[in-house]
Assembly symmetry: C2
Homo-oligomer: 359 residues x 2
Amino acid sequence: MRRTGWTAVIRGGMLAALVCAAMLGAAAPVAAQGTTQGAAAAVAPVADPLPSWNEGAAKRAILDFVRATTDPAGAGFVPLPDRVATFDQDGTLWVEHPVYTQVLYAFARLRVLAETKPELKQAEPFRTVLSGDRDAIARLPLHALEKILAVTLTGMTVEAFQADVAQWLDTARDARWQRRYTELTYQPMQEVLAHLRANGFRTYIATGGGQDFVRVYAGTVYGIPPEQVVGTAGATSYGYDAAGRPVLTKEPKLLLDDNLAGKPEGIHLMIGRRPHAAFGNSTGDRQMLEYVGAGAGPRLAMLVLHDDAAREYAYGPALGLPDTEVGTFTPQLYEEAGRQGWTVISMKADWKRLFAFEP
Amino acid sequence: MRRTGWTAVIRGGMLAALVCAAMLGAAAPVAAQGTTQGAAAAVAPVADPLPSWNEGAAKRAILDFVRATTDPAGAGFVPLPDRVATFDQDGTLWVEHPVYTQVLYAFARLRVLAETKPELKQAEPFRTVLSGDRDAIARLPLHALEKILAVTLTGMTVEAFQADVAQWLDTARDARWQRRYTELTYQPMQEVLAHLRANGFRTYIATGGGQDFVRVYAGTVYGIPPEQVVGTAGATSYGYDAAGRPVLTKEPKLLLDDNLAGKPEGIHLMIGRRPHAAFGNSTGDRQMLEYVGAGAGPRLAMLVLHDDAAREYAYGPALGLPDTEVGTFTPQLYEEAGRQGWTVISMKADWKRLFAFEP
């Protein structure tokens, strides 16, 4: 049996330990570098659609792909309706360490829920999470975390969920940069999204995170509308409120596990055609890149490697980088990238600056 | 437990009886009328976006809705991204009687399958269907039909399925008009699709039929791309073929039952926003119309009533029309339409001509 969404790549209580670290700000802030690089970006020619990228194989691969697919006289021309690109979100479009933003939202929501449902304070695993006992939270088994996600992300109307997520995103700050999570998107990837769209591509998110969660901010943060967010999706149930108005209520039943093999499966379900470009950063994206790469004509498959502890985080364990349970980039994946002709993006070498808020 | 897709509104062996009627051409051809009406359409002013519609409340409702939602100075203006309209397919965009086209495809495919898998000829319920014994087929229980759909529509790659459906659609002919099924689309509804799109609406199909089945022809027949077809969807499984190439295989596991309450649920899953217009023709569309109608601002909700035995079929049982198991329009639905302000389209009174192939 496959595990659910992110939990598929997370073992036991490791996630909980990371959650604690994130909640308590244990990840010490590291002064953002790249001021010089930011200045370099500022003097880049206006015509450069990717000013936050250093010159190199990765930047060249993107520009070459767009040129090849949009040249009507070229052999690689792709008609407009087929110009589809899919992007993993956590770790590819925005920061995923020390832990996924949605898990932090679920923990925050549990604390709010406990105010009106005091029985949660007595029942496990909620009592443990609410206790703030880091060691105990770290020992929580996987099914306990799934129970927390089920309780905190379901049972309300889709509109109530959207409003609650929007409010949390507006007030919560990450421990390292003290910024809204929605500010922690990678400027180089925003430029890729914009460049692809300027050339007729429709950009989709294909995330192991919750489809409804990501939809709340995908429009304002990435310019990606709700119908172009493919994610791990739970069922909703249609019914009527006290006034007899139709409502859709979020249910704790999994419809689509959009991770690993679930990514190409979700792409088929939601899009119904094979994308020409795909971007990821972990083993959860492998099958999506394989699927995209196996199509005819020009295909662009890229993986972001987090090798920049100074400006963001460094994790692999590919290339000897520290191992991680969140966004694992294994040596096997690195090897497959080489074999398949996928481009690995070095955050450290390829990106001039990481965030729009950097000088 | 809800039944699957169409089968939710079909009782027991009734569907099988109808299938037999369709296969054997028992529905006697009726000479298409409306030649005069066709001529009238030809002299309609070019500026009329709905030339196949007679003047009346239904045509007016469509034109008024489009005017209201696209007038930037009006109170009912709808921004471009929110211009979404959903259309049921069977009975709303094309002919569904005497039985759904996809069921005929499944029966045809069973005959082909039996050539390479002779064991099917010995096993029930396949033996019964292959026997051609109308009475025996009519007595098949519901789960037998579901078994037939599972066997015939799964187990192949999505590409193989697409190719097979396309070939069948190209060669099969309906018993009454002796036309390809893809020619049996309603010209008045094609004009509604075009008029909405010309005014910035994105047109989606929301069908109880198979999502992958409808996607095969939605592009050429309706101008609707695969990502805008929401339908009853089965799982696929990602794997590799003998050459190691990634493939998606269709599995006999239901992901989305896109009928009744499943329509708004499917719309939320696939689109993530509430449409401003919805079109249906049966009880299977009720919840979709309720959901669409309950939103703020101008909303258009319409139901096609098949009251034209001469040019197509007549069934209800609303308004005393003959009862049916396929595309049931109950008196309760008719009553709700009046109460909710939905517009009922009378095929007989509102449509000048039905098909593009009519003179």
